[in-house]
């Protein structure tokens, strides 16, 4: 982690004018095309097929029957109580994890921004939950942490009168939020820490000389500076966590009942258990639209950060 990058040179001035010669335009495009082609093939094409499917009525378990369905699938999806439940679960899960992880992340980043013995080791330990393969982490949490009989969680909480709590059944959403917060706090922490360390030391020094208290400095100088970083963390985190699948598939399987079925798992179930191709695709399209909404905010923040640099 380093301080602010040196002001990037203004490349834009070397950017092409509107009237580049044709050959030049293509020679510039050349290097871009392979990457573009691959991404289009593996993301845009399937998406186009998804949109097509979403207008068809088709169930793979009844081969041979399929018909154009118009927007029936969308109506079916939007009026499906399970879908709406999945939307609510997704919002609760995402908001819960993102906010908790950010709160913890800010606190830890502030700690890590100080000097103390073994700071690098502490940072290394703290980022580890984010690195552990999510599938492995989910299974370890399920069987070693949450287990009602042998779980470490019940043992650790037993001095507080917690006894034999069956976390995954009784508090399924809380359990997932807990596990995902553990996983995502390092992510938030790293972003906020980078923000903290990119502050201009001279400004902080000046504030100190001027007699501002640490709290005042944090509120007046540090926090406004951090805001962008926090926004970025919240938005990127949201985009990733909205798509949470591994722990749901591995720990709760969306249950008990529909208690932890989020949108990706809902789509997975409609696709690979009910084999309702049309409805699954329609749900997918709806999710993509929502993601685009969040993503466009995220992009605005990202491009803001880039612009700020120059």
């Amino acid at each position: 982690m380093t301080a602010t990058a040196p002001p990037a040179p203004a490349r834009e001035r070397r950017g092409p004018g509107p009237k580049l010669p044709l050959g030049e335009r293509w020679s510039r495009r050349g290097p871009l095309l392979p990457a573009l082609l691959l991404v289009v093939l593996f993301t845009q094409l399937p998406m186009a097929v998804t949109v097509y499917y979403s207008l068809q009525s088709r169930n793979l378990l009844r081969p041979g029957e399929s018909a154009f369905a118009g927007f029936d699938n969308y109506v079916a999806v939007v009026t499906d109580a399970h879908f709406r439940g999945a939307v609510v679960n997704t919002v609760v899960l995402t908001a819960g994890v993102v906010l908790l992880a950010m709160a913890l992340g800010v606190a830890l980043a502030v700690l890590l921004d100080q000097r103390f013995l073994g700071r690098n080791v502490v940072r290394t330990l703290l980022i580890t939950p984010f690195l552990v393969m999510p599938a492995a982490a989910a299974l370890v949490w399920k069987h070693a942490m949450f287990n009602p009989l042998f779980g470490v969680l019940n043992w650790a909480l037993s001095p507080f009168g917690v006894d034999r709590v069956d976390w995954v059944s009784e508090y399924p959403m809380f359990s997932l939020v807990l596990m995902l917060t553990w996983q995502w706090t390092p992510f938030m922490m790293l972003i906020v820490l980078a923000g903290l360390q990119s502050q201009d030391p001279e400004v902080l020094e000046a504030a100190r000389v001027d007699g501002a208290s640490a709290l005042q400095t944090f509120r007046r100088i540090t926090f406004p500076h951090l805001r962008r970083f926090i926004e970025l963390g919240l938005l990127l985190g949201s985009i990733f966590i909205v798509n949470t699948f591994d722990p749901i598939y591995l720990i709760t399987q969306g249950g008990p009942g529909q208690a932890t079925t989020n949108l990706p798992y809902f789509i997975y179930q409609v696709t690979f258990r009910a084999f309702e191709v049309g409805e699954a695709a329609a749900a997918g399209v709806v999710v993509v639209l929502c993601t685009i909404l969040i993503a466009s905010f995220a992009l605005r923040v990202i491009s803001g950060l880039f612009r700020e640099e120059r």
Binding site: A3, T4, A5, R11, R14, G15, P16, R28, P31, L32, P34, A35, L36, L38, V39, F42, T43, Q44, L45, P46, V49, L108, L111, R115, F116, L117, V121, R123, T124, L125, I127, T128, P129, L131, V132, P134, A135, A136, L139, V140, A144, L149, V152, W155, P186, P201, L236, N243, D246, L263, Y268, F272, A281, G284, T291, I294, A295, L299, I302, L305
Partner: protein, 280 residues
């Protein structure tokens, strides 16, 4: 990452004991599940499932041996092929693309840049069925190459943005000097640009490796035996068969180890990769 002045070192702030204690406590809480996973892998099954938990025991390698005996190696190899293969391909494709979006920008480079990143935000669940059916019709399900390509597409946006951010950091003067020297395009790239962004490429590679190695959803949906990766192996542990926590821990430890090590090595660049190069 180019050398930066180490700002913190200059401030003569004393090390703070209270902060240190708090930070260490937090670190231990966060690290505990990982530690527990690691430690449990060295237990006998009966020691792994006890109430209260067993902390002192004679370590054994039995569980690791049992996992390796259960044909774990092909999964490891597949994971390795999919993640290393995709990472190399990502670098090969993303470096020219990043170049075309920074140093010698194409018309409308900003749109392309944002197009790339928007694909990273695509929910995998929304495209899995078409991918599955297309792969099935092309008879390439359960194929490591296909999985590598999916991972390549998944990681390209991050890599393009990240490499671009490194390219933009190149001092203009050096590039201009090369131009004046009359260096041709390829010479410029080979002699000047690549060596200067090599650390950046290494960082990008590590980030891509991490994402590919840990990927679960595509692996579970698109592979079954021949191309199954480590996360797929782990799905066998969803339900318990007898006492199996120690074996699970051993498998999880082996599955997680490569990326944990890679991530520890790449700490400095982690945040940059996670934010597509927006935060350094």
């Amino acid at each position: 990452m180019p050398a930066q002045p180490k700002r913190r070192r200059s401030g003569p702030r004393p090390s703070n004991v209270l902060v240190g204690v708090a930070a260490w406590a937090a670190a231990l809480v966060f690290f505990f599940p990982v530690l527990w996973m690691f430690v449990s892998g060295f237990k006998q099954e009966a020691q792994a499932s006890t109430d209260p938990p067993t902390f002192l025991f004679a370590p054994t390698l039995d569980q690791f041996a049992a996992i390796l005996g259960r044909d774990f190696t092909p999964y490891l190899l597949n994971s390795l092929m999919a993640s290393v293969g995709s990472t190399l391909l990502v670098l090969a494709l993303a470096t020219p693309a990043a170049y075309a979006l920074s140093l010698r920008p194409v018309p409308g480079w900003r749109d392309s840049l944002f197009f790339f990143i928007s694909t990273r935000f695509m929910p995998p669940a929304a495209i899995i069925l078409p991918l599955y059916i297309i792969a099935s019709n092309a008879d390439v399900l359960d194929n490591v190459t296909v999985l590598s390509l999916v991972y390549t597409a998944m990681n390209l946006p991050i890599a393009v943005w990240m490499i671009r951010s490194f390219l933009l950091e190149l001092p203009t003067a050096v590039l201009e000097a090369a131009k004046i020297d009359g260096a041709g395009f390829f010479t410029e790239v080979r002699r000047i640009i690549l060596p200067m962004i090599a650390p950046g490429l290494a960082a990008t590679a590590l980030i891509c490796f991490i994402f590919a190695w840990n990927e679960f959803f595509f692996a579970v949906s698109l592979t079954s035996t021949r191309a199954a990766t480590v996360p797929v192996f782990l799905t066998g542990f969803i339900t318990s068969e007898g006492l199996f926590l120690a074996r699970l821990s051993a498998a999880a430890t082996m599955a997680a180890l490569p990326v944990v090590l890679a991530g520890w090595l790449a700490q400095k660049w982690l945040v940059r990769g996670l934010t597509m190069g927006a935060v350094k």
